[in-house]
Amino acid sequence: MSERENTRFLRRTLFLGILQLFLIVILLGRMYYLQIIEGSHYHLLAEDNRIASRPLVPLRGQIYDCKGIPLVQNETSFRVVLLADQKEEIEKTLETLSGIISLSEEEKEEIFKMMKKKRALDSLIIKDNLTWPEVSAIELHATALPGISIEIGSVRKYPEVLQGAHLLGYVASPSEKEQIDDLMLSIPGLKVGKGGVEKYFDSRLRGTPGRSAFEVNAKRKVVRELHQIASIPGEDIHLTIDARLQAYAQDVLSGYESASAVILDIQNGNVLALVSTPSFNPNLFPQGISHKDWHELRDNPYVPLTNKATSGLYAPGSTVKLFVALAALHANIIDKTSTVYCPGYIYVGNHKFHCMHSHGTVNVSRAISESCDVFFYEIAKRVGIDRLSALCEDFGLGTGGLEGYPHIKKGLVPTKAWKKEKKNANWTVSDTIQVGIGQGYMLATPLELVVAIARLAGGGKKLIPHLEDEGNVSFKDMGYDQQHLDLILEAMIATANTPSGTAFRWRIPVEGMEMAGKTGTSQVRRITMQQRKAGQTKTTHLPWKYREHGLFVGYAPINHPRYAITVVVEHAGGASLAVQAARDILWELQRFTKKSGS
């Protein structure tokens, strides 16, 4: 090269060196940008890559009765799960597994469906509630089952003897809709209360889920556990329910096709028992009920899935007469000496309303204890629907009862405004007369009736029923004259303790334990003129579902009212079965209370 060419070479080489240095500085700048300026951002992304977490299901709270007897059990259960990082080989694994434990095609399909829904890191429950032989068989073949492991969980068991399916409800996996509403419910294995106490106290029973954080690799395989936040078990609930009484009442009512009963403590509003028969086995639900069992329950004519004690709507029948009488006394329309002559019927307009038989001249006490309809036709007419419905609502009719308890229904206390709105018709005297004997539009649930009786027998205080013991509670006085209340209570005592009373045959013949009450029948179908002419005023000969319901409301003991009861026996054809059941329950309850000395 010439000198000139050489200089050019050196110049270009220098330029090249500077260019390279410049490019290296760019690399340094980029490094500075990624690591220093954006460092924390990328740090978060790296952590996000690395850490995955799995929720830990909390132990559900216990439920105890008033004496501390557990009403549910959390039993340890074993379930076989497939770890998420092994999902690719699921078909082969299931094939091997079905040779060890029984897996139906239906179950397998369910597993495939679940697998598509679950996130990558969730484990998949293949089969719950394994038996011991199954557990040991799986452990034995563990090497042939990649990703399969046995997890220990807990399953809710309900004691068979209690049969308290309606009272307690049950737990089951949350529905898809529930899972969308509450993200916590999408935790695999978490169960929620479905009905009854389990649902009523669900948020407290449920507890707080924990979290287990894992380090995962790029293939989402768990490398190691990083840390764990333990789950907090749900709260224990102490109910006012007396398990012994509940079981006894259930037993008594099981003798009938379909019945319900509610027993309250008049002093504090504690619900001592809440029974509806027929019942069902709540243990069918926590593990997922089979289609066969479900259809059987659903299609049963005696509707075992319905809690009749809180959602059964019945015309209260003659039981409402207590309140009609009180309304008349309260309005000073009658006093204890006022009488009405009962010829066995009454005409309103040109419509004839019947009584059971001619009672002759009756005062309010006799009218109640012998259940004279004509007396109440007459005074209901005089009191009028406005005052009548106001008083019924005061005593809790049409208000439902336990606020927030699942499957609660409100009865109906008709008013003029209600009829105008729903039936688009004016209220008539005939309507009032029918309400006066608890028929027509009026409807009530057993729970509402027992609240009404408890308020009546408790001295006109606005008792509020509850399922959880709240200690000593005092209720607001509703302002009814104690003399009027006593008159009604005396009539109730007479009903069950004087030979002419409608419940005399099934009295409690033990001093200090006597009960008071009022019978009632609730018409399912009107008795036709033809039937009446033929002397068919009883409905016992009709097909079961057309027979009238038998009701009894009462309390015991008569001297110091403590327990209020309502029994409804569906389609009993009369009140006698309800009275018998109430008598048995109240008697047993008092005997037991006396024996245990409280």
Binding site: M1, S2, E5, R8, F9, L10, R12, T13, L14, L16, G17, Q20, L21, L23, I24, I26, L27, L28, R30, M31, Y32, L34, Q35, I36, E38, G39, S40, H41, Y42, H43, L45, A46, E47, N49, R50, E215, V216, N217, A218, K219, V223
Partner: protein, 387 residues
């Protein structure tokens, strides 16, 4: 024997005089050897970390290969530069034959026919070609009279284009780019007018659509993905996204040796080969990354000193070619893992796991050392033998 200066002048300037092995070793640029050793040692440490703290399967093998490589490097460094001048075209010819050979003898590996199986070792002819091309171009430019007339540029252009096209067909976009850019740089140093470069740039820009159709789908994907890595987080964009996360999450001081979560949990792909710089930056942070960059800069600066002080044209071009190749490796790899360039499969020189690339680079440095040793040797442009 006279003064050391006279002595030095004597044997370096005289063609027939052969210095002893000791004399040659004493004159060798040990700075380069030391820097190479330092950079490689960093690599071995990273390979241990990549294997989760084990010298298997990578680190030990890499050290053994390096030992062989460094011996080859020193051997090449001590052979007379004139000898290399003589054999440069033959070297190029053999490399070209091998490159053609992969078309028939090579087997599929990593989506391209890049390897040839010689039963004893597997070599990548494209790697050999990187050296052979530099040698051949250096010899060509050595034998020219300056300034080189325009028509004399077609021969060296052919020397570049034939292997470049063959490599591109394999397909190996990264190597083809290095061949083209190294060749281009030597053209630049040979004093080719800037307007030729301008014209070439325009021509290439215009032919991009045509070149595009020659690219394989995965190459197109990689290039497209480079412009928008967020488009495909799980597929082709996964590599670069995870690499940036790993690198960025290292911060200033890094997560600590063997503590790189992205690498150890396999979020970082190819962590022992192409993405090893990310591993370094994740575990050693900005400090570690800058340190390695500084070592590279020192090495390159040392090489530039040799280029600038070499008296013969062949040596200058050889040293410049090797240095540029080395720089391109460094720059493309690091820019690629930081998302500045598309992922083209270029290893980080001396650090990434892999035998062929390391051997090529050590051979390259062998020639640089050789040039350094013979930098005062003057070789007339017509003093070449038959070859």
């Amino acid at each position: 024997m006279g003064t050391p200066t006279l002595y030095k002048e004597k044997w370096l300037m005289t063609i027939d005089f052969t210095p002893s092995l000791f004399q040659q070793l004493a004159r060798l640029n040990w700075n380069i050897v030391f820097l190479i050793l330092s950079i490689s040692a960093i690599g071995w440490g990273l390979l241990v970390s990549a294997a989760g703290g084990d010298i298997h399967p990578w680190a030990l093998k890499q050290v053994i290969r390096f030992s062989v490589g460094i011996l080859i490097m020193l051997t090449l460094a001590l052979i007379n530069l004139r000898w290399w001048l003589h054999f440069s075209y033959i070297f190029y010819g053999i490399s070209l034959l091998l490159l053609c050979g992969v078309e028939f003898l090579g087997f599929i590996g990593k989506g391209g026919q890049r390897w040839i199986d010689l039963y004893v070792i597997q070599i990548q002819p494209s790697e050999l070609m990187k050296i052979a091309l530099v040698m051949a171009l250096a010899r060509y430019f050595h034998s020219q009279s300056y300034p080189i007339p325009f028509h004399k540029l077609f021969v060296p252009l052919t020397l570049i284009m034939i292997p470049a096209i063959l490599v591109l067909r394999q397909p190996d976009l990264g190597t083809a780019m290095i061949l083209l850019m190294t060749g281009g740089t030597l053209f630049f140093l040979a004093g080719v007018s800037l307007w030729v470069f301008g014209a070439t740039f325009i021509t290439i820009s215009a032919s991009i659509p045509i070149l595009w159709s020659f690219l394989h789908d995965y190459q197109k994907k990689r290039i497209l993905m480079f412009f928008d890595p967020s488009q495909d987080l799980r597929g082709a964009g996964y590599h670069i996204t995870q690499s940036k996360i790993a690198l960025g999450s290292g911060g200033f001081l890094g997560k600590g040796y063997k503590q790189g979560t992205q690498a150890s949990l396999n979020f970082l792909p190819e962590k022992q080969t192409d993405f090893i710089f990310t591993l370094l930056c994740e575990e050693w942070g900005f400090i570690g990354g800058s340190l390695l960059l500084c070592l590279y800069v020192l090495l390159i600066v040392t090489c530039f000193r040799i280029i600038l002080t070499t008296q013969n044209d062949f040596g200058r071009f050889v040293a410049a070619g090797m240095t540029v190749t080395f720089f391109l490796y460094v720059f493309i790899n690091i820019a690629m893992v930081m998302g500045l360039l598309p992922v083209v499969g270029i290893p980080l020189p001396l650090v990434s796991y892999g035998g062929t690339a390391m051997l090529t680079l050590l051979m390259g440095f062998g020639f640089v050392l050789n040039v350094g040793l013979y930098r005062t040797l003057k070789i007339p442009r017509f003093s070449i033998g038959v070859f």
